[in-house]
């Protein structure tokens, strides 16, 4: 009875903007395809079956697999320790486990580079000359520290959601502790590993900052180099291969996930498990947690501050100010526009769950999952066709909007779930037309969600690197581009102030995300 509205036709003022957004996302990607097939047939064979493609594929795959493995090794014990044991300070360690999300990959890479090498912190403080970290191992460490919190939060919430009765019945049937983990807990965590794995995988595919600073060639990095050259057809093909790889990731996850949807039978809230005392293992557990927090949160912060002190900050103030304004001028309109479009999309999805609305929401997620370098290239190709648009700020704003639209939909949708459709029906029965009823009865309840959406997109755009590097007008200064630009030239001191401001915005973003998560869970509870 709840979705009765669904059988009615959605009004044009919702459908039209939603379709417009869908088209805006798909059109550049479609044009990428057109561009790719403009090559001569003979050249095509030569482009697609290049040995270099295989080399890039192996590199990308090795990095993704490595990051997943390291992330899993860090996140699983962290999640278990903070949910299932009698350890003290679990809340603080949980927070510390999420905090690395506030450090963008390229800042993490900056940290590693600024730490090691002949003039790095370790060298100047301890006289220890570490070789400069780079290549596979540098990229692996930076990306693992940056992405393991995604796995951690997934595993953690899954562990908290498990029904204690299942484990207790296994124990009552004669299973030992490790057997319970092996046969009851781990199987139930499988969907979580897949989902978290997908997020991490897509991050590795899409990452540009880390691999470019570490000079490790993956598809994204190679694609970037190719866009700077004249062989744009090969660039289009690299982008297609990158998209294909992302598609394979998503498909694999969906395939693995099928049939693993686990539901609790029985009624009543699940009971909490009894916590396990660690005994002699308590010491090692604390050391593990401490080292992890130190390496992933404290070291980056200290490194940035160290380089800050090395340089006279005031001399850079003018440039910093300009870059900050540049970031804000591009991010603000993107945040506002994507929130505007998020409302009809979320509303259609929640109130008119039809085939079309489901497709449109998926399309918004395609924009999000598309590796940003590929998206940027699609935009470059597309805007070259429209006179007067190429290399303007609008292109950058537009790209931000479409890429982060999915982030804006989330909070609006949670807010909509909290506003029952009955409210609008009540307003209609009291003499309000449908649109007016929405404005009077539902819109006031969305304010919090709309603010969150705008803020999330704003902060995401502030720290976004590849789209900014590839699409901003010539000479346009932003924070992210400056961090990256100075770091590629090993000018760590010059990059430091920009990195610090980025860190600040990222911390804000994370705080907001955490609050939003809590609201979302309450909405669904």
């Amino acid at each position: 009875m709840r979705t009765l509205l669904a059988r009615q036709l959605s009004p044009w003022y919702l459908t039209l903007p939603a379709i417009a957004v869908g088209t805006a996302i798909l059109l550049p990607l479609a044009y990428l395809l057109v561009r790719a097939f403009q090559a001569e047939a003979a050249d095509l064979m030569q482009i697609v079956f290049r040995a270099r493609n295989l080399y890039l594929f192996v590199n990308t795959f090795l990095l993704a697999a490595g990051v997943l493995a390291v992330g899993g090794l860090l996140a699983t014990p962290l999640a278990w320790l903070t949910t299932r044991t009698e350890l003290k300070g679990k809340r603080i360690f949980t927070l510390l486990g999420v905090l690395p999300l506030a450090i963008p990959g390229y800042v993490m890479a900056y940290t590693l580079l600024g730490l090691s090498g002949p003039d790095g912190i370790v060298a100047s403080l301890f006289g220890l000359k570490l070789p400069r970290l780079s290549g596979y191992w540098g990229a692996l460490i930076a990306l693992s520290f940056y992405t393991f919190p995604y796995l951690f939060v997934n595993i953690r919430s899954a562990l908290l959601g498990l029904d204690a009765a299942l484990e207790e019945s296994a124990r009552s049937l004669g299973y030992r502790t490790w057997e319970v983990s092996r046969y009851v807990v781990i199987p139930q965590l499988r969907p979580t590993f897949y989902a978290g794995g997908l997020i991490v995988g897509l991050h590795v595919l899409g990452d540009f900052g880390v691999v470019s600073l570490m000079r490790y060639e993956t598809f994204s990095y190679a694609l970037y180099s190719q866009t700077q050259s004249f062989d744009r057809t090969y660039a289009a093909w690299l982008a297609l291969m990158l998209l294909l790889l992302a598609g394979v990731f998503i498909y694999t996850e969906a395939k693995l996930l099928r049939g693993t949807r686990l539901h609790r039978t029985g009624s009543g809230p699940p009971r909490k498990v009894s916590l396990i005392p660690l005994g002699p293992w308590q010491g090692p557990a604390y050391i593990f947690l401490g080292v992890l927090a130190f390496a992933s949160v404290i070291v980056p912060t200290v490194t940035i501050c160290f380089w800050m002190l090395k340089e006279n900050v005031t001399s850079n103030f003018q440039a910093l100010h300009e870059a900050l304004l540049g970031s804000v001028f591009a991010s603000t309109p993107a945040a506002l526009i994507s929130t505007c479009f998020a409302v009809p999309l979320a509303y259609l999805g929640v109130r008119y769950p039809t085939f079309l609305s489901r497709i449109l929401e998926r399309v918004a997620y395609i924009g999000y999952a598309t590796p940003p370098v590929a998206l940027a290239l699609a935009f470059i190709f597309f805007t070259l066709q429209i006179p007067g648009i190429y290399q303007t700020l609008w292109v950058l704003i537009f790209a931000y909007t479409l890429h982060f639209l999915a982030e804006a939909i989330g909070p609006v949708r949670s807010a909509l779930y909290q506003a029952p459709p009955r409210l609008e029906e009540a307003a209609q029965s009291l003499g309000y037309a449908p649109l007016k009823a929405f404005i009077k009865a539902t819109f006031p309840l969305l304010r919090g969600g709309l603010t969150a959406s705008t803020a999330l997109v704003f902060l995401s755009a502030m720290k976004e690197l590849p789209l900014t590097v590839l699409l901003s007008p010539a000479g346009y200064e932003t924070l992210a581009v400056n961090v990256w630009g100075y770091t590629t030239e090993a000018e760590f001191a010059k990059a430091a102030p920009y990195a610090l401001v980025i860190l600040l915005f990222s911390a804000l973003f994370l705080g907001l995300l955490l609050i939003q998560e809590r609201i979302h869970h309450e909405a669904l509870a």
């Binding site: 209609q428 009291l430 003499g431």
Partner: protein, 371 residues
Amino acid sequence: MKPLLSVRNLTKQLAPHLGPVVVRVSFDVYPSEIFALLGPSGCGKTTTLRMIAGFERPDAGEIYLEDRLLDSPEVHLSPKKRGIGFVFQDYALFPHLNVMDNVGFGLRKLPAKSLRQRSLEVMELVNLISIKDRKPHELSGGEQQRVALARSIAAGPKLILLDEPFSNLDAELRHTTREEVRGLLKKTGMSAVLVTHDQEEALCLANRIAVMQNGQIEQVGTPESIYHRPQTPFVAEFLGKTNLIAGEAKGDCADTPLGILPLDCNVVGKVLLSIRPEHLAIEHSNKVHLNGFRGKIVMREFKGHDLTYRVQIGEHSYFVQTDHRCPFKVDDQVQLRAVETAVVIRGSDESGTLKSPPSMHSQDTSAAKSF
């Protein structure tokens, strides 16, 4: 008297692969009448109500309010133009507005002063003045319900629709609220259509009841006629326990496994009869009684102020309700006697013909004229 609301042949299918949820439903609601749509969940009663409100569009049929056509295959008046109030099961109070603003929500066309005055009037009526500045989440279930009702009443509709209005209240509150709502509707002289699955609620609140099953109306009538003269086996069983008995009618009585039973009408041929457990009496089988067949008690349920027995006679068993003095035990040899006439269920006499149709076979509107 002219009906206020007329529903004619209303039909609705929610999804193409599912069957229709409402099938050719017709009924009238008269001014000042409380009309209940009663049925099990999924019988189409809420969909019917939502179509009257205009939230759903019927596939076929018409809805009239007074002489105005609200719905037909060609016409669909939007909910805002209908002037029909709707009280939702979960009340749907606007969480961002206080009680006063919720009540005044439908009065936006009035100037501020009269808006305030009218809101106060209605709040006075439903006894909300003392909590007029509170937000919905600060109210108890009963208060929320009164606000929801006041919000609908304030807009001055001719008809109010109530969707399971008492289902969110606990049992104790339900009784008192039911009284209040009934009193309020009578005081304002407003007509109401009420949807419920609770037969007791329908019986004690409504002037007339339509019993629905599988999207169709099985019977319309006053609570008394519905209860005492059910026309279909479903109605007989849905409104309290009953015994359904097959028999051979011969005028004003019928041959049944229970012996000869007196009937409420004249009919000939095979019939299905309904007789309520409290309309049967148990007697010791050693008393000679021509009219009864011998049986045995197979179950005894003591419920305080009364008792329910199940009596096995031949291959059938029957429920009998007696007062606490009835002294039988399980396995006692007994016979049954009807103390009231048995009710002939309509449509059961396939081969038989009705000699004189009982009065309830036509739509029972006699009660509607005497509010």
